[in-house]
Symmetry: C2
Subunit: 437 residues, 2 copies
């Protein structure tokens, strides 16, 4: 007996050569345990052989979206810092309140952000934050897939590397494999070379990769060249960071030579266009990375800059900003955007062999989109709708690792009202603490 | 007996000096006929004196959004033309199929687009299209407010001016005042000077304004300077177009001198950022217009380029694109964005004395937003949420001219399923016609 039958849906089928996708109609999806068993013509399967059946007529099934770089618990700081540059955003707004965060705060904030993502059809997230034991417990509970990294700055001392290594040892492969981990030094400008080298050594020993911010702006690159004679990406190469699998967040200030360097290593770029627009930063050179064979994935960054975790918005902003940057509407066409949203994001997330497609043997991380919404009519071009029209609320059902975590827009794994109430009371406490200090 | 009591809500209160807004809590809104009678502290009103009462606890009431430039029936062409430049978009994709449109097609497409807008909290639209008798009938039926202009090109001959004047005479003030009209020549590059002059004469005689595209790109401005020695905006001045109230769509190619000219006339700019990004056009110089005292309003343009009629997205794209254009995150702060979304859009729509605020004597065009959504938590900064986080589905109730047109996300004025079915069958017929030709 198999576990789940999704019947009568359309399916987003990704081309094997990465050039795009097509829509197959009248399909059934068979799921056994946490894997897709088959995607086949409707009516071949016998419903009585399945524990659960979802009639998905009028829906499109597609791979769940993958958020390749976030600070999910920062949903707590949504709306805290608007209309300020990156430096003031960090120094004056975020860091002064972040120090009052407790482990428990991170648990509830992670839950809130995970619910927001599940409601938006996001099934996996690469998260980079503090108190990641709490974040991992929240991930375990809420049912999303995650690659978790405990953020480190060199001022914390090298003992933090041991502390976060212990986190990796504890949680790698947890929640029946839904949780993976990485080491997560903040950035080359906040982690000195020795600290980065020690981190690499730990990562190698643990057999995990590194998730790090790099070259967030062109200015950072220039400043690094002035003070060190090296770009931030050259520092990553020299300290051995690029020798392990990496997720590089932003890379907006990457130079053409940096891109040549990165092409030689197992790396991927997480691009969070809304943050760049809101903070007046530079844009990730998406096309240049892709031409060099370096995958670019979708990211929201934290809700303190974004201000949501809506990856559909990230998708269309990435495509539109790239058209704007080149002054050319033919750049980054719909098919390529779909590929970025699926297989390429899976590649950056380091699970492309198991995520990003709906096919036999892939993990059962998928979403059902209601194609009947008014703003998706008429349905001449479903691929264009996915890139430019679909909104989180069009996602009806979210399935992660074979488990239905949202059905008909109802979160099934946690009590949403309780999470909202907890987060509101945490905000009150944090605001009070900051005022007192 | 008054008509409608909305009780227990928060209210977006616009500052009188246009510098922004604040949130008032525990308010009731009293509506008599099509007007707001009062906005007052909760519990002062006696429910039994009202025909209808809406308990809006947990909701924010704010002015309905105003779409200052659209081609609503173009929802029919959603997804038809992706990843192509403006010229090919028009010549190769849109115009060849548009010629097969019938009056009836426009009626159903206008209904579909109006439903999409009502579902997104848009209560008024300045529309510029063909077969506007049909569009007006749809507006009358669906309950939205509209300023309708029947599009004209000079190749149609001057008789079209008489035809569209007849439309103005028939529909100006119709639907109990919900419908107003303008003359709507397409653009200076598609309407010669004599045609524009004749249009101005007609508009003056009718006592209406003119809604026109102008300077869509810097290239159009340059081309006009080469061929005529005048910018498109100088042509509007010379032909007298600027002498009547105008809605100018786009103006992305306006020069500093153009802006000085426009500052002397009763005009407003409709800016549709998503179209500019998608078609690789230039951006409206929003700050320059505003500094010259010229109002800029939000617009979606048509869904063939946008690809939706989501004005929340227009709002955040306008703000973010302006930050990007200046490389400065302090440009166009939240308060200013809120002002653009409300009073400034009302000014461009030519109804600022009656729209864009919730205050006694204003038209009862308002929406209720559910502040309890996960992606709006915690609710530290509701203004920032409005600009950067709110999505159409957060709008629970839409009221136009005192009439509830959507309540708890249910459209009350038309049969949505029928409209969708009609639009799908129209698409089939149009596609067939185009293939046969």
């Amino acid at each position: 007996m198999s576990d789940l039958l999704i019947k009568n849906c359309s399916v987003l089928q990704l081309n094997n050569d990465g050039t795009g996708a097509e829509i197959l109609t009248d399909r059934d999806i068979l799921i056994r345990g946490n894997l897709i068993e088959a995607v086949q013509a409707t009516a071949l399967a016998d419903e009585s052989h399945f524990r659960t059946c979802i009639d998905a007529k009028g829906m499109l099934a597609m791979p769940g979206l993958i958020n390749t770089h976030a600070h999910v618990p920062m949903v707590l700081f949504r709306g805290l810092a608007e209309d300020v540059p990156l430096e003031r955003w960090l120094n004056d707004c975020i860091w002064p309140i972040e120090r009052y965060l407790s482990e428990e705060d991170v648990y509830w904030a992670m839950l809130l952000g995970a619910i927001e993502m599940i409601e938006a059809g996001v099934t996996a997230v690469a998260d980079h934050y503090f108190y990641m034991d709490s974040a991992a417990s929240a991930v375990e509970k809420v049912g999303i897939r995650a690659n978790l990294g405990w953020a480190m700055f060199d001022w914390m001392g090298e003992s933090i590397i041991e502390r976060t290594s212990a986190f990796v040892r504890q949680w790698q492969g947890a929640a029946l494999g839904r949780i993976r981990t990485m080491m997560a030094p903040h950035a080359p400008y906040t982690c000195n070379d020795d600290f980065l080298r020690a981190t690499v050594k730990a990562a190698e020993k643990l057999g995990v990769g590194i998730h790090i911010h790099v070259s967030e702006t062109k200015e950072q690159t220039s400043a690094s060249l002035v003070s060190r004679g090296l770009t931030p990406i050259q520092i990553l190469e020299q300290t051995g960071v690029l020798g392990v699998p990496t997720i590089l967040a932003h890379a907006c200030g990457a130079t053409p030579d940096d891109i040549k360097i990165l092409a030689r290593y197992p790396t991927g770029i997480a691009s969070a266009t809304k943050t760049y627009l809101k903070l007046g930063m530079d844009l990730t050179p998406v096309s240049e990375f892709r031409q060099a064979g370096i995958p670019v994935g979708l990211a929201t960054d934290g809700a303190a800059s974004n201000n949501t975790l809506d990856l559909w918005e990230s998708l269309r902003l990435l495509a539109m900003a790239e058209k704007l940057r080149w002054g050319n509407p033919e750049v980054l066409p719909v098919a390529e955007a779909i590929s970025i949203a699926t297989v390429e994001s899976a590649r950056v997330f380091s699970r492309v062999e198991k995520l990003g497609k709906l096919a036999s043997g892939y993990l059962a991380d998928l979403i059902l989109i209601d194609l009947g919404k008014v703003h998706l009519q008429p349905d001449r071009n479903i691929l264009a709708n996915l890139v430019y029209s679909v909104r989180p609320e069009d996602v009806q059902t979210t399935i992660v690792d074979g488990q239905i975590v949202m059905r008909s827009r109802q979160i099934l794994t946690v009590d949403k009202a309780e999470v909202i109430a907890r987060v509101r009371s945490i905000l009150k406490r944090l605001t009070l603490r900051q005022k007192e200090s």
